[in-house]
Amino acid sequence: MTNWLLGAFAFVGNRTVSGLQGMGRAWGLFLGATASIRNVDVWLPHLLPQMARVGVASVPIALFIATFTGIVMSLQASYTLTGAIPVYFVGTLVGKTMILELGPVLTALTLAGRVGANISAELGTMRVTEQVDALETLAYDPLAYLVVPRVFAAVFMFPIVVLLAIGIGIASGWFTALQLLDMSSPEFVKGLRLFFEPWDVWFAVIKSVSFGAVVTGVGCYFGLQTERGAEGVGRSATRTVVVASMLILCLDAFWATVLL
């Protein structure tokens, strides 16, 4: 009994210490990366390639998901809104949901898997193959070289990808409403415009920026913390996806509480 209790307390204590250590290391990474922003000559040449990798290369998968999200939203809205509710509310539901929630969050979750895991695996491999150590040996700032361009690229490109996803999602929902739900374009547009506020777009952009920072920041963190060879790389990639996804959802709730 005593041993069982001791083991339970030890488990909790170990997890607490590990958590605090992780938070400390993450805070250290954040401070170091912030300090590395001043090394513009180091990170700026890598910004465009990272923007292409993080943003442009992610557009197809983001648009694919948004397309089907819009279709499903339109069909489910028409299935839900029956009876006394006017059919043009399908447009309202598709527009509001895509702009405020599904566009940013689904895109971010998708990119957490694609971009976050990619960054984590890349940096983890560099870590276990001691390329990061080599950079430090060559007097390169590894944070300015590896972290800052990736985070900046994500911060710039995530909103772009999210805006494209929102547009495609609404368009696919519109197309579905016209082709499958016997709605007219004026009806759908009326619903789309009914409760639209420009602030909704800003809300999506702000969320996307934070999601981009989180996905790439978590990927960089777990990548740079990778140990024990290829197994560690895989574990880092997995952790990146899990933690980034959790943080995305937490941030989503946070922004909804703060901004709406």
């Binding site: 465009l48 390639p49 923007m51 292409a52 943003g55 442009v56 557009v59 006394a84 509710i85 006017p86 509310f89 527009g95 710039f156 490109m157 909103p159 772009i160 990808v161 805006l163 494209l164 929102i166 547009g167 609404i170 789309l192 415009r193 009914l194 409760f195 639209f196 506020e197 420009p198 777009v201 952009v205």
Partner: protein, 328 residues
């Protein structure tokens, strides 16, 4: 390779920004022209918010810019942007009402004369349109709830009042009503028959009236012909003479009446004097009065009559006492 990558990134960025900017503008209703600004004042605005549609005769002509409480706190000022070439009615007012059942409100510009039942607020500032807000659905449902409660109370009372006996009475009443309606039906049938008779009588009367009218027309035609004849003038002349004779007779009668009036006055004077004389006699004044008022005279007269009778008897019995005849 590097240039291609740059172009790709630039294209995606431009596409994303274009989608964001153009989409936002389009969803807001497109680029707005120079709009005409209006203000309206209402006691309250319900759930109207900035961005709500402004409609005129059912057509969207603008949007609500802002909704503010007036500085004096007595009203709510609604700032509207409408199309610049919109021609408003002379008595324009703004009705704030739900656009649908889902909380979206609109401001509708209308003619105040067409909606006199609404209590539009006349704000004491020039250029501010009067406005009124309809009650929202929550107030309507609250009122409906009140009505439902009252109906429940009424139905409960009705259940209390509606017993088996009441039902039996109602059944009897319905039976009575059936009997009454049968009687009424019979009466109506009879009345209809009488009405038919009456109609026939009326028709006959109308025919007689028609005949009388024709007769009257003939009479009038004869009168017209008589009037047209010259004999009438002679008759009218004779009538004039007769009238002048009557006038003279009337004058002579008036004169006679004057004489009669003076004779009557004299008779009145005579009767007055006679009244005075009779009054004096009744009061015992004068010889006649004393004569009438004194009983001794009558007694004396009676005694004299008796004595006269005795004398006559004595004369009859003894004529020689009183009469003497001598021839020489």
């Amino acid at each position: 390779m590097e240039r291609r990558r740059e172009a790709l990134v630039g294209l995606v960025v431009m596409l994303g920004v274009a989608v964001g900017v153009v989409g936002t503008i389009w969803l807001q209703g497109g680029l707005r022209r120079d709009m005409r600004e209006l203000r309206a004042a209402s006691q309250n605005v319900g759930q109207l918010v900035a961005g709500a549609a402004v409609k005129f005769r059912g057509v969207s002509v603008g949007h609500v810019d802002a909704v503010n409480v007036a500085p004096d706190g007595e009203a709510v000022l609604v700032h509207l942007s409408v199309e610049p070439d919109l021609v408003l009615p002379a008595d324009a007012a703004v009705l704030l009402a739900p656009e649908s059942m889902f909380g979206d409100w609109q401001a509708e510009i209308l003619s105040r004369a067409d909606f006199e039942l609404f209590s539009f607020l006349d704000y004491p500032e020039e250029g501010v349109l009067p406005a009124a807000a309809l009650p929202d659905f929550s107030r309507l449902t609250a009122t409906a709830d009140q009505i439902a409660r009252r109906l429940t109370t009424i139905s409960e009372r009705f259940e209390v009042a509606f017993t088996e006996e009441t039902a039996l009475n109602l059944k009897n009443a319905i039976d009575n009503i059936g009997a009454v309606s049968d009687g009424l039906s019979e009466i109506i049938t009879q009345q209809a028959a009488r009405f038919e008779d009456l109609s026939e009588g009326v028709n006959a009367s109308a025919a007689e009236l028609g005949a009388a009218a024709r007769q009257a027309r003939l009479s009038f035609e004869r009168v017209d012909s008589i009037i047209a004849n010259t004999q009438v003038e002679g008759m009218l002349g004779d009538a004039g003479v007769t009238m002048s004779n009557l006038r003279e007779l009337t004058e002579s009668m008036n004169a006679s009446l004057g004489d009669l009036r003076s004779a009557a006055q004299r008779a009145d004077t005579t009767f007055a004097r006679l009244d005075e004389l009779l009054a004096a006699v009744e009061s015992g004044d004068g010889s006649l009065g004393r004569l009438l008022g004194d009983p001794t005279l009558a007694e004396g007269a009676a005694e004299a009559v008796q004595e006269l009778r005795a004398l006559l008897v004595d004369i009859q019995e003894n004529p020689r006492r009183y009469l003497s005849f001598s021839i020489f």
